[in-house]
């Protein structure tokens, strides 16, 4: 097995670890590389990479297991943009035929009190925003009431965090 094959395998795994801090990522890849080198030393002639498993599967599992501390996880919030505070500034926009929108922001916790927005996507209705924020797991009719939205979201989070 060539070092190029090992580098390629590790690079494929690394592509799934972009959420991790560079130090954690480097440490993790060093651990895998050492494992591969140990295997090559002790089991010459064996397909060491095959023994490790598919890089996509390994990379995804590692990303999940090494996801940052909860307060650094991505948080998705639903923020209706049209509020009384900014309604004045919206009037000209509304007059031009634009509707108030419902936006979904991906946030990263900078510390325990501060979040930084990474990206924002806006939708014409609340149902589409919810669907986007939950990766399509919560799909509601546009006429859904607030109680129906709350119930669907409770069920969604209960499924994601069964404990």
């Amino acid at each position: 097995m060539s070092s190029l094959e090992i580098d390629t395998y590790l690079a494929q795994i690394e592509s799934h670890l972009q959420e991790l801090e560079p130090d954690s990522r480097a440490e993790l890849l060093l651990e895998l590389r050492t494992h591969i080198e140990d295997s090559m030393t002790e089991l010459p002639g064996q397909d060491v990479i095959a023994r490790m498993g598919p890089p996509t599967k390994v990379g995804r599992a590692l990303a999940k297991a090494n996801r940052a501390h909860p307060n650094r996880r991505k948080r998705w919030i639903i923020a209706p943009v049209a509020t009384f505070v900014i309604i004045v500034s919206l009037v000209p926009i509304l007059a031009q035929g634009n509707k108030p929108q419902h936006c979904v922001s991906s946030l990263i916790a900078a510390n325990t009190n501060t979040f930084q927005a990474q990206s924002t996507a806006c939708f014409d209705n609340f149902a589409d925003a919810i669907s986007y924020a939950t990766g399509g797991a919560v799909s509601l009719p546009q006429s859904a009431s607030p109680d129906e939205v709350s119930a669907a979201l409770r069920q969604y989070y209960a499924t994601r965090n069964p404990r």
Binding site: T34, E37, G53, V58, K64
Partner: protein, 109 residues
């Protein structure tokens, strides 16, 4: 997923805790020890051992420490008091489970 794969997957944490209960080991060592002690029966995809180890560390069942051994750096995993407690609980549940399952199989198979 095959039945045996489900059983193996469900017992991975228990197997790792059993392997580490007496001494610290690095990932490759754990993998080899699992195979040796089970006569090759527990032969998991080695890359998938690490996500489990990292998750167990995050859950407080293991701690880890990097050590330089020769010209290589290795990450050693050690069981924590919480891990030992979890091991005792899991072993007890596993015994109860297999006892009752074997009893039922004995009645009908």
């Amino acid at each position: 997923m095959e039945f045996i794969d489900q059983l193996r997957k469900g017992s991975t944490v228990l197997l790792i805790l059993l392997t580490l209960q007496n001494r610290a080991m690095y990932g490759y060592q754990i993998s080899r020890e699992l195979q040796r002690r089970s006569d090759g029966y527990f032969d998991m995809k080695e890359g998938l051992l690490y996500p489990t180890l990292h998750q167990m560390e995050k859950d407080g069942l293991l701690t880890s420490e990097w050590k330089a051994v020769g010209n290589r750096k290795r990450k050693y995993y050690r069981i924590t008091p919480l891990g030992s407690e979890r091991l005792a609980g899991m072993a007890s549940e596993w015994r109860m489970f297999t006892t009752q399952l074997l009893k039922m199989m004995g009645d009908s198979l």
